[in-house]
Structures are given as C-alpha cells and as structure tokens.
C-alpha cells in the first residue's frame, strides 16, 4: 500500500528540474529557462553581492550586467551542475573588478578598495542595533564587522551557503589551506567578542 502511494506521488508531482538540465535548456536559447534561473537566484546573488559591497546600486548593476552577458554568451557557455556556484563566481568577479576600477578612477576621493571591503556600522546602525529586541543577533552581527572582508566572506560561504572548502577555495581563488586559515582565524576573532552573558545564555539554551 505504502509503495503504491510513493509510485503515484512520483508520477504526478513534477520533479524538481536538475541544475544540469535547466542550464542546458538555457544554453540552447530557451528564454523561459533563462528567466527561471533569474527568479531562482536573483535574491541569493544580491545577498552575496551585498556581502562584497555595501553599494546597493553597484550590486544591482552587477546582477543586471551578469544576466545580460549570460544571455549574450549563452551558446558558448560551458556546462554546470551547480548553477548557484557558477553564478557566485561570476558576480564575485564582477563586483571586485568594479570596486577596483572605481578605486582606480577616483584616486582623490579617499575611496579605497579596503574601505569598500570593510563596511563598518554607522552610529545609526548601532543605535538601531541596540534598540532591536533580538539581543543575541545584535551582538553577533556586530562581532562579524570586526573580521576582515575575506574572513567574513569565507564564513558567509561556509556557514550561510554551506559550500565545501574546495568550492570556497576556487571561488575565492585561493587554496584550501587558505580557506581553512581564513575560517579558523575568523572564528577565533569571533570568540574574543563573546561576552559572558551570551555564554550563559547559550549554556542554558543548548542543553
């Protein structure tokens, strides 16, 4: 009885299309597949982009340019079994290039790559933080701003996006040992910012 129902279920429910097949449809020039890819990944790309740059317009521009280019090159693009990872790679390259370029063209404005990489909370942000109800989250996000851009990015990819170390390594164009070091040092720094109350809070919650 149970088996029968499972077979039935498989037959009527549309299986989630694999990345490979969706990507291949897009590569063959299927506009519907292209717009599906956009709808599925625009939020993730935007979110990741905002971890690399604080400039909303810059991130939006990069996402738009990325998709426009993808469509223009669709017939020559290679296969992939992991669309999100592929797109992450593209958006990262784009945003970092943009940041470097704007740094090059505006040397006098005090706008440096490092500034853009390390967004620090403004006093207003902190105020909002303090007023927020979720005290746990407040402290956590603040601690994250003490990390370097690269440490933060590695942590984001590992913990938020659950990418493997080797994927992170190739995405960030470093070796796996560097990824390990970035994450390890990042965590060490985070631990330094643990206040006692939070420790207690976790003790109570955890067990």
């Amino acid at each position: 009885m149970k088996d029968k129902r499972d077979v039935y279920k498989d037959r009527i429910l549309p299986l989630k299309e694999s990345d490979l097949s969706l990507w291949n449809r897009f590569r063959s020039g299927d506009r519907e597949a292209f717009s599906t890819i956009y709808r599925l990944y625009v939020s993730a790309l935007y979110n990741y982009g905002m971890k690399l740059s604080r400039d909303r317009e810059q991130v939006k521009d990069a996402v738009q340019d990325l998709f426009i280019e993808l469509w223009k090159k669709h017939s020559t693009i290679g296969e992939t079994t992991n669309i999100k990872y592929y797109l992450y790679k593209c958006i990262r390259r784009k945003i970092i290039r943009n940041i470097e370029q704007s740094a090059k063209f505006l040397p006098d404005t005090g706008f440096t790559t490092e500034n853009n990489y390390n967004p620090v909370s403004s006093p207003e942000d902190l105020l909002i933080d303090i007023q927020s109800v979720d005290q746990k989250k407040v402290y956590l996000n603040k601690a994250l701003t003490h990390l370097t851009q690269r440490q933060r990015e590695a942590l984001f990819l590992k913990y938020y996006d659950s990418l493997s170390n080797s994927e992170i390594a190739s995405l960030m164009a470093v070796n796996e040992q560097s990824v390990y070091n970035l994450v390890y040092q990042g965590l060490q720094l985070l631990r330094k910012f643990f206040p006692v109350e939070v420790l207690l809070f976790f003790c109570i919650l955890s067990f």
């Binding site: 625009v42 935007y46 426009i68 280019e69 420790l199």
Partner: protein, 346 residues
C-alpha cells in the same frame, strides 16, 4: 570517523558533521552520535558549548531585493539582452559589407522590400538630426539608444542618428531639456555638450538648462560627471542626486547647491513650480518658455519671492496669482509686453 578528542572549539565549529548537528538539519543518527560522544567526554562540554555558540554567531544579515527591485532589474535585463540580440543581427550584416557601394545597393534593394531600414541606416549615417521647439512647446524626443529627452520650449537638441548603445553617445543642447538616459550593457557613456560644459553619465535622470549664457544642471537620480568645455584640465565635478551646478560663461567659478530637483523638472509635467522663486527669475522663465515679456515697474520688485504652482499653459492664472500675492496691477501694453506695477489703492 574523525577523532574529536583533541578538537578545539574552532575545530568543532568548522567540522561539517558538527555544523549539521548544531544547525539541527541533522538526522537522528548524527544527533545520537554527538549526544553519546558528549557522555563519553564530559569534560569537553565547555568546548562544545563554545563551538555551538561559534556556529550560531556566524549569523549573517540577509539583504534581499524587494519584489519591485526584482521586477525592475528583470526589465532592464530582458530589454537589453533580447533587444541587443536583434540589433546584433542587424549590424553584423552591415559590418560585413561596409563599402559605400554596398550600402547604396542595399538601400535600393530594401526599397523594394517592405522595410526601408537599410535606406534609413545609410541615410542616417550622413545626417545630423535636430529637434527644435517654439514658444510654449514641450517635445518628447526618443533617442535611437532608447534614452528619453523632454525638450522644453525654445530649445534645440542635435545628435547623430546613428547614436548607438555600444559607443559614446553624444548630444548637443541649446536651451533646456530633461534627460532620462538609458543604461546600456556595454556601459556606453552619454554626454550632453553645452557651451560651458559637458555632462557625462551612464544612466540617470537630470535637467540641463543652457539659457542666459550659463549652464545649469540638476541631477534627479544616478550619478553624473561634469567637465568644463574651456578648462578641460580642471578636475571633473561629481554630482549626486539633488545637486544643482551652475556655470556662467563669463566666470570661471562654479556654483553648487542642494535643491529639490523636482522643482526644476516640473515643466516636464507641464507645470510651473516655484519655490521661493524671485519675480525676476519668474520673468526670465516666462520669457524663455512662453515668449512672454514681463516688465517690472521698479527694481525693488525683482527680489519678491513667490511659491506655488500652476499649469504651464495657464500663465494668465500665474499672473493673477502674482498680482494678488504682491498687490500688483497687470497692464497689457500694446506691444504685447506685460507690465507689473504696484497697486496704488489698498
């Protein structure tokens, strides 16, 4: 199985199996493993607590685009991705046969065909296009790259009709116009040339006014860069939304202030909006856009300030409002000029 007995809090926090458990995405066997492991190493409890806390502390703020942004971004993508596809097909045929002879031949051929695009293409290469407006006339001009220009009264805009999205787009303006520049995938620059300066943008909305030997630029959205026509070596001026920059022909100096940009582009909605605008300026605007010559009885009236708005084709109403606000008489001269004089009776 990994030997966890020597693990530090960081080591645990980096272990995928441990993360699975903490993030409660673990199946029951994973949970069982960690519970029994803890029973086996009770002195590691502190380390585990810290490691769990570490995993939780890597909690990133999510910044997602809202529905409107997702829509508008897709609009830009589909417009440019699909539109340039068509363009590419068209241009690829013309670039193969670049010779003048072929162009002429092609245009004759295309005359026979229902579409005269080839002829237009060839013809447009040779000619510059200009649009001109008269008194009280506002014209919408669509540039070949998809950018929109609203031309105010008594103004001229010139450009090459072969203006493409993949090269520098240039227009020449004399008078006043509001620009809505389309961003292009190739990041093609868009330059408005006026007598005094060049306004350079990627994609944005702004107002340019070149009347009275000065150029005034007001930026509504986006970013623009200004360079002076005569002082190209000067550092370019960057503008942000709400900035007004004015450059006079006679002076080298540049005036920059923050304004409400909508006041300056209200004419595109066929409204005249004044915000503490002096009578002298109002007289200037009426002369520029409506060809109405307004004379003030004495110079002390010039600095009177007026705030309010009126439909652009109801200048009679504006005059009425002015006369009431400042107790003025409207005297229509036989020459067509309008004289504003102080009312003698209370």
């Amino acid at each position: 199985m990994t030997d966890y007995s020597d693990f530090s809090a960081e080591d645990f926090a980096m272990d995928d199996y441990f993360i699975q458990w903490v993030k409660s995405s673990a199946d029951s066997s994973t949970s069982e493993f960690w519970t029994s492991w803890l029973e086996q190493y009770p002195d590691k409890k502190d380390t585990i607590v810290q490691a769990r806390q570490l995993v939780f502390s890597v909690d990133f703020e999510e910044t997602f685009p809202d529905q409107k942004e997702v829509q508008s971004m897709w609009q830009v993508i589909s417009d440019q991705a699909f539109e340039e596809e068509i363009l590419e097909r068209e241009t690829s045929t013309t670039t193969i046969f670049r010779t003048q002879v072929f162009k002429i031949a092609a245009s004759i051929l295309l005359l026979v065909l229902p579409i005269g695009g080839g002829l237009y293409y060839w013809y447009s290469q040779q000619q510059e296009v200009s649009y001109l407006t008269q008194n009280g006339q506002v014209k919408a001009v669509l540039l070949p790259d998809g950018s929109q220009v609203t031309l105010n009264a008594n103004s001229v805009i010139r450009f090459n009709p072969s203006l493409q999205t993949d090269q520098i787009r240039e227009v020449w303006l004399d008078g006043e116009a509001f620009f809505h520049v389309k961003r292009t995938a190739s990041k093609a620059r868009f330059i408005v040339h006026t007598k005094q300066l060049n306004v350079e943008v990627l994609g944005t909305t702004f107002n340019v006014n070149t009347r009275h030997k000065k150029t005034r630029v007001i930026l509504n959205t986006g970013k623009v860069t200004l360079t002076l026509s005569e002082h190209k070596q000067d550092p370019p001026i960057q503008m942000v939304p709400g900035d007004l920059v004015e450059c006079k022909e006679s002076e080298k100096k540049i005036m920059k202030k923050t304004v409400n940009p909508d006041t300056y582009s209200s004419w595109t909605q066929s409204r005249l909006v004044f915000n503490a605008t002096t009578l002298a300026e109002i007289a200037e605007i009426l002369a520029d856009t409506q060809g109405i010559k307004l004379t003030l009885q004495d110079t002390s009236m010039a600095s009177l300030q007026f705030s309010g708005s009126v439909s652009a084709n109801r200048t009679d109403l504006l005059l009425l409002k002015l006369s009431k606000a400042f107790r003025l008489n409207i005297v229509r001269q036989p020459t067509g000029e309008i004289l504003l004089e102080k009312s003698t009776h209370e």
